[in-house]
Subunit: 227 residues, 2 copies
């Protein structure tokens, strides 16, 4: 598939690497490609500038948000939750009719650590995206774990869970298929229901952040253990 990843941070890079190995053609969208390429500090976990990383990829194309999704079969939002709506506005009507996997969380760092959520309880980022882009098939998923585990679920032993939320059943099925390509077993993918169930998964972040502190590492995931 032609997959557009919006966002060029650690999250976007990790996803691009994995989806490339699966044979997908990846375009990454950013506000200003020149600035991204020349990002001077080794600001990522890779400890290399983005341009060096990009040169080492076989088939990842970097584009402006505006030009990133024209050919896409599927779009994945890996921007920070706080700038997601602005970034999607720049992509604009090229999103229409497409599946948008939203993995962002509306984290608000303005009041210090740990972050709070800028929207929750009676609304969610997933719902805000769906409301703003009614012709896009928004599927919230993968937002309840660290990026490496999203793309390498085998890192965690045993069964553990990935949620999907969305209004379009066919879109959720397509996302489920992509998750299975990545390595998620069908039994570990839980369809919570429509996009309003994004509230629940985004509201997992506060306990996720505290678990990170309590356990001293982020290599964990939620498993729904059933009787």
């Amino acid at each position: 598939m032609k997959i557009t990843i919006l966002g060029t941070g650690m999250v976007g890079m990790t996803i691009a690497e994995k989806l490339t190995t699966l044979g997908h053609q990846i375009t990454m969208g950013t506000r200003d490609p020149e600035t991204t390429i020349s990002r001077p500090t080794p600001a990522t976990w890779k400890k290399i500038p983005f341009g060096d990383w990009l040169n080492a990829q076989n088939s990842v194309v970097l584009e402006t948000f505006e030009n990133s999704a024209k050919e896409a079969d599927l779009v994945l939002n890996a921007t920070s939750g706080g700038v997601t709506l602005k970034a999607l506005d720049m992509v604009g009507k090229d999103l229409n009719g497409k599946i948008l996997i939203d993995i962002a969380n509306p984290l608000d760092f303005s009041n210090g650590m740990p972050p709070t959520l800028s929207v929750c309880n009676t609304d969610s980022l997933g719902e805000q995206i769906q409301a703003r882009f009614p012709e896009v098939k928004v599927v919230k998923s993968l937002n309840t774990m660290n990026t490496y585990i999203m793309m390498h679920p085998e890192t965690i032993p045993g069964d553990h869970t990935v949620f999907v939320s969305g209004n379009d059943s066919e879109a959720k099925k397509a996302v489920s298929n992509l998750l299975q390509e990545i390595g998620w077993t069908e039994g570990n993918i839980i369809d919570l229901g429509d996009i309003s169930t994004s509230r629940g998964t985004e509201m997992l972040l506060p306990v996720w952040l505290r678990l990170w502190g309590a356990l001293g590492h982020a290599n964990f995931n939620f498993q729904i253990q059933q009787a």
Copy 2:
């Protein structure tokens, strides 16, 4: 131990039954014992009036909130989140110096189903209780699963998690010991940190409620699966 359970609903009844079998002396607190005893409808999952249930218990005493905690070694809040602060006010200064296990969630049913939270994100019911009763050792726990699983963790196969949050380490240790008496293994008890971490566990409720819908039953629990 002499344990006072505040609240006489299904939650309080299930906990009283279990703690009685473990040899603890149970007092249950309610607003008006006469009303509770004569509660005419079979309103509980037991399908029997509260008075009949109480008569069948060997050693459960029913008291007003005001008189319920005078002799208690430990108090457990099993009232609905929406009335918790009012109930605790009625218990009053008998709570001082004691451990209060808070298992309630601030569910708000006023906007229909599923309920939202009346407090979250920047505050929590656990924190509100601690702020209102600074001399009480509040430990939030057990609020992330259904009541039967709280008291019968062996219902769910394999490992699954119970969280504890609180400012007093000794109090959390005492609660952890009680949890182990109930059947929780030490490795499945995660101390998240101070009482502000109640935000995280209370904010698990929205996804818990949606999982109940998606799975079609409430016999599940969160397991933190680690690499």
